[in-house]
């Protein structure tokens, strides 16, 4: 990791440069009179941040060229939107119910995902889906999840209910 | 219409302030600060609609960024670590 941070590969520099420049162009949206000063300034700043921060990028730039991953990424966005809506109706029901029906606890689940970005995406998805919130990730691939309505404390059962919603999609996107 | 949404958001902000003032543990107050930071982004978006100016969304983006960094720093402090660990 230290070596990667000191000497980033050229593909990572290109990757960070592209993403930074795209975000910059999004912020200076009205293109109609082309503003060359803005574009040149953005390119220079993107180049500097690519060289300085390229080693910190954990995504593999070459994998980003595969269009199949973008198809599964679109599926992932729709699945996430659906589960976020279900989660919000669930929270609204629990909060507005006079007795506040909760049964909380921290359970342990196992994930098969290996890469750091896939684990991060899985943890964030778990936080946004019904009744669960990631508390910590251990190095051996276990996640500690705070569950607002615990139905099983066994590792396998909890894994099937909590992780199973997203793991297969994220494996296709990131690995 | 927009005024109704603004009043709902104001009510939410007062509930957050209640939690920040009365939270029994420090972590409760930090949760209130985090949620209030995200609510301010919503306020900025509504002001952008009311005044029809785009620059309020620049404020919203910068506020979201700073609120995230502040919450992370507070969480590190809660964990009992220095900021460079």
């Amino acid at each position: 990791m230290e070596e990667a941070a000191s000497k980033p590969k050229i593909s990572k520099i290109v990757f960070v440069f592209t993403v930074t420049l795209a975000v910059w162009l999004l912020f200076t949206w009205p293109f109609a009179p082309v503003n060359w000063a803005m574009i040149i300034a953005g390119s220079l700043v993107s180049l500097v941040s690519g060289i300085v921060l390229g080693g910190l990028a954990t995504l593999h730039p070459v994998k980003g060229l595969n269009p199949v991953r973008y198809f599964w990424g679109g599926c992932y966005v729709f699945a996430l939107a659906w589960w976020v809506m279900v989660a919000n109706l669930d929270v609204a029901f629990r909060v507005l119910h006079p007795d506040v029906p909760i049964n909380p606890g921290i359970v342990k689940v196992k994930t098969e995902l290996k890469s750091e970005s896939a684990k991060t995406a899985l943890a964030n998805s778990i936080t946004l889906t019904p009744g669960t919130m990631t508390v910590d990730i251990s190095d051996e691939g276990y996640l500690y999840v705070h569950w607002i309505n615990v139905s099983s404390t066994e590792v396998e059962e909890a894994t099937r209910e909590v992780v199973g919603r997203f793991e297969w999609l994220l494996r296709r996107i990131f690995e | 219409m927009i005024e109704f949404a603004l009043s709902l958001l104001t009510l939410s902000a007062f509930l957050c302030l209640f939690r920040i003032g009365s939270g029994p543990t420090p972590a409760d107050r930090m949760v209130g600060i985090d949620i209030l930071g995200i609510l301010v982004v919503g306020f900025c978006a509504l002001f952008a609609v009311i005044t029809d100016r785009a620059f309020y969304l620049n404020i919203a983006l910068a506020w979201g960024l700073l609120s995230f960094i502040g919450t992370t720093a507070l969480a590190k402090h809660l964990e009992g670590k220095k900021f460079d660990e």
Binding site: I148 | L74, E79
Partner: protein
């Protein structure tokens, strides 16, 4: 037409923000509060910004709203994760009605 749809989505988002903050008051301990309020406020603020995007169409306002949606959806769960981990490490116990705490058992 698109303005009316945008206003409707903004009102729905503001309602979910209110539900999240009611959860902040009513739920019993810091983990449950963090869980309920983060979910609801993330969706609420994202749909307010989506309403701005739909109401204003493609332009400087809409593009900045889109960037803010992506940004909030990434950072809000991460902040919740950091806060809950910090709260557990600093020794704040779970609510007395909690069923299980595997994290405490295996530390």
């Amino acid at each position: 037409m698109s303005e009316i749809a945008g206003y409707a989505i903004i009102i729905i988002g503001a309602l979910f923000n209110l539900f999240g903050c009611i959860g902040l008051i009513r739920l019993p301990d810091v983990y449950n509060r963090l869980q309920g309020s983060t979910k609801c406020v993330t969706l609420g603020t994202c749909s307010i910004l989506l309403g701005v995007l739909i109401g204003s169409g493609v332009g400087p306002t809409g593009m900045k709203a889109l960037a803010a949606i992506v940004f909030i959806a990434i950072t809000a769960p991460t902040a919740a994760h950091a806060l809950s981990r910090g709260a557990h490490k600093s020794g704040i116990p779970l609510w007395e009605g909690s069923v299980v705490d595997k994290y405490e058992e295996e530390k």
